[in-house]
């Protein structure tokens, strides 16, 4: 009994840590996208805002890179799926004893560091360009072209692995049966093999797209003068980032969730189609579908909720403007500053020499991008707070008095406390 309780606590704790480790950064980053602070941060919270999405939409460099990323990913999907499929089919055809060798060779690009692939692609096409005396705006020096080729070298090997695992489950007798019934080899491929491979083609395409989209270390060499999302981001990080990157992350996470839901829905429907005979009532097939779909998978329900929450947020964003909050925030600070003089309720207000410092802190926390101050202040204040027994109630009073949310009052109250011991 006791040991089992301990075990369940342990497992529960482990799960919390595990999922925290997996999703914590994502969640934090997503939240920072809605904070009006200039630097991506969660605490202290300034204003709820959508301005970073606007900022993102206005960032031409980033959008340019994003566009390129999509174009490149599209090219990589087409090339890699075709090469991967051809490679996998080839594996089933080659002489059995040569298979391990063939496999090793075609899989080797995965083992080669991406940096090496990038550099060698660049060098190879550069040499080729020199050989044919191509100009610098020819295809030999085209970043998009080179990146598609460079990424495809190893992404097509990923695709091939997907196809091989699917082909291993193919019954070659089906092909023979089709031939025997008079189908040509082309018909056999189109009507038997290809339908069997459709799911794998879908998976390989998604895999190729994602692998291409997030690739950096090959791309950074082959992209030459152009840019992709990853190279733009890498550059930005060097010069300091703002929360528009978080906004981008939110969009990507949202798209991923939508994609996962769509994929799962399709899979379930496929499953249902196979089991169609078992469903007694075909008229309520949709009801059955939804029921079967939701009951089986709590994770899906969770994703669904996240998705609905996302929709709600979008709706909210069209109704809400952060301007009011910001105005309130500024007003509140100004009010606070004005109160420093006449306010008789605050015990610390008599220390006139401290006013400039306070002003600093207030402006920093609310308007500037200095995140350090607010964070540093809080713990200090809290530590020192117990020195004065009256202060907590006073602080609350100040908070309640100030307009807007009480959170800000809390933030400011400690500032005031901070002055007191000095």
């Amino acid at each position: 009994m006791k040991s089992s309780t301990f075990l369940s606590i342990f497992v529960g704790g482990y799960l919390v840590i595990f999922f925290g480790y997996l999703f914590g950064p994502l969640i934090l980053m997503s939240i920072t996208a809605f904070n009006s602070s200039q630097f991506p941060r969660v605490a202290p919270w300034d204003c709820f805002t959508f301005e970073w999405f606007g900022e993102l939409a206005a960032d031409d460099k980033l959008l340019d890179g994003l566009g390129n990323s999509f174009i490149i990913a599209g090219g990589v999907v087409v090339i890699s799926v075709m090469i991967g499929l051809a490679g996998a089919l080839m594996l089933t055809q080659v002489w059995p004893r040569a298979r391990p060798w063939y496999y090793t060779i075609v899989i080797s690009p995965i083992l080669v560091p991406g940096v090496v692939l990038g550099i060698s692609t660049l060098l190879f096409w550069d040499r080729l360009g020199v050989m044919v005396d191509a100009s610098y705006d020819s295809v030999f020096y085209n970043g998009t072209f080179l990146t598609v080729l460079g990424q495809s070298t190893f992404i097509s090997a990923y695709c091939m692995l997907v196809f091989i695992s699917r082909l291993q489950r193919f019954d070659p007798a089906l092909e023979e049966a089709a031939l025997d019934l008079g189908a040509t080899h082309v018909q056999t491929f189109r009507k038997i093999m290809l339908p069997f491979l459709y799911p794998a083609i879908g998976s390989a395409a998604v895999l190729a797209f994602l692998a291409s989209f997030e690739n950096y270390n090959t791309t950074v060499f082959t992209i030459v003068a152009e840019s992709t999302l990853t190279t733009v981001l890498a550059n930005q990080v060097r010069y300091g980032i703002n929360p528009s990157i978080s906004a981008l992350a939110v969009i990507i996470v949202a798209l991923t969730i939508v994609g996962a839901i769509a994929h799962e829905a399709m899979r379930r429907r496929e499953e249902l189609k196979v089991r169609r005979g078992e469903l007694t009532d075909t008229s309520s097939a949709f009801g059955n579908f939804m029921q079967g779909w939701l009951s089986g998978n709590p994770a899906m329900i969770l994703l669904m909720l996240v998705f609905v929450a996302g929709l709600g947020t979008v709706w909210f964003s069209s109704q809400y403007s952060a301007g009011q909050c910001k105005l309130d925030l500024r007003e509140q600070k100004e009010l606070l500053q004005q109160r420093q003089g006449p306010d008789i309720f605050l015990p610390g207000s008599d220390a006139g020499s401290d006013t400039p410092a306070l002003e600093d802190g207030a402006t920093d926390g609310g308007l500037d991008n200095n995140s350090g101050f607010g964070g540093v202040f809080d713990p200090n204040n809290l530590e020192q707070a117990p020195t004065d027994a009256d202060t907590p109630s006073d602080g609350e009073g100040a908070g309640a008095e100030s307009p807007g949310s009480s959170t800000f009052g809390d933030v400011f109250a400690p500032d005031n406390l901070n002055e007191e011991p000095q």
């Binding site: 089906l174 025997d180 019934l181 008079g182 339908p195 069997f196 005979g277």
Partner: protein, 367 residues
């Protein structure tokens, strides 16, 4: 009956590297007949069928269908349809799409295909099941769909590779008669593979018995049962008691063999006449149902002791041991009379010389 298209194998050898899977096969299958290949697992039955349908080329010899040499003609160009050992129905298609596949690849329209599929579903007694997926059918139904799919290609020769082996006994018996009925109805040549001798004997016009790549005998079922041409056929088809020994005397078509249980006389098999001489190593085979417990009348007598008895309903089997330790099996029709008796009972068995077959000594089928 001979309206259909015949199949001829002439001196066909099939090798896989060093391994000889089929050795010098000569088979003439008449048009419209039900022909069976019978043999133990691994004897090369499937290999022959694959050569006929064009999936592999014979290393030597020729295969002709309807008089035309098939060398170099691919499986999709031959007038054959093969029903695979594992059926190989297309799992991603519905039943009717499976059946009409042969028409689809010829470019027939959907309406036409659907109509033909429905006709065939009628024929195989699965009307209205066309929209199902293959996975929703029972084993026996899949079986029939595979037959319909092959028939839809309108082949001149239908090749069936142990199509009933996966079914349970009841269904197998049912499908046997159904297959035979379909064959009579469509009137095309059936080449049927099985390792179940009952199946081969009940359905076929002719049976070829194979052993390790060699065709040992081709004949109708009755001849194969009553007049086997090798020791292997005698022991593989049906059950037989075998006694080995030296030929001590030959008179006309009968021979006397000196065996460990005494002198036994039998008729010399047709295939062995003229080749068996006095002093040769030979075997005498006698069917369990030819052995009687009366111990009178004939010169062939064997002393034996009852080991066990098995009651099968219509017949009962008695298993005995001779004094020299050979096992003997005896089958008698159940007439409600007395049984052989408890284990250990000693008795004298007898059989007619006309019902025993003498063959040159050879390898027996391992049970």
């Amino acid at each position: 009956m001979s309206a259909g298209v015949g199949v001829d194998l002439k001196d066909v050898w099939i090798r896989f590297g060093e391994f000889v899977a089929v050795r010098e096969a000569n088979v003439a299958i008449e048009g419209g007949e039900f022909f069976s290949f019978l043999g133990p697992s691994g004897c090369g039955k499937t290999t022959i069928l694959r050569a006929v349908s064009g999936f592999l080329d014979p290393s030597e010899g020729t295969i002709s269908i309807g008089g035309a040499n098939m060398a170099g003609i691919g499986p999709n160009k031959r007038p054959t349809a093969l029903i695979f050992q594992n059926l190989a129905l297309f799992p991603l298609m519905t039943v009717w799409e499976n059946i009409a596949f042969a028409m689809e690849v010829q470019g027939a329209g959907k309406k036409e295909r659907r109509r033909r599929a429905d006709e065939l579903l009628e024929l195989i007694a699965l009307p209205g099941q066309g929209e199902k997926m293959v996975s929703e059918l029972s084993g026996g139904q899949r079986q029939r769909v595979a037959i319909a799919r092959a028939l839809c290609a309108q082949p001149d020769v239908l090749l069936l590779d142990e199509p009933l082996s996966a079914l349970d006994l009841k269904l197998r018996q049912h499908m046997r008669s159904e297959l035979r009925a379909i064959q009579r109805q469509v009137g095309i040549t059936f080449i049927y593979i099985t390792h179940d001798q009952g199946e081969a004997l009940t359905m076929s016009d002719h049976v070829a018995v194979m052993k390790a790549g060699v065709i040992e005998q081709i004949s109708d079922g009755q001849t194969i049962y009553d007049d086997p041409s090798t020791a292997f056929v005698a022991s593989f088809v049906g059950e037989n008691n075998a006694f080995a020994g030296k030929v001590s005397a030959i008179s006309k078509n009968q021979a006397t063999i000196d065996t460990s249980v005494g002198k036994l006389r039998g008729r010399i098999a047709t295939a062995a006449r003229g080749t068996i001489n006095k002093g040769d190593e030979a075997m005498i085979f006698v069917r369990p149902e030819a052995v009687s417990m009366s111990g009178t009348g004939t010169s062939n007598k064997i002393k034996a002791r009852v080991r066990t008895e098995e009651f099968e309903g219509a017949v009962y089997n008695v298993f005995l041991n001779t004094e020299s330790g050979e096992a003997v099996k005896l089958s008698a029709v159940n007439q409600g009379g007395a049984r052989a008796g408890s284990p250990g009972t000693e008795m004298t068995l007898s059989f007619n010389a006309a019902q025993a077959v003498v063959l040159p000594r050879g390898e027996l089928a391992s049970e």
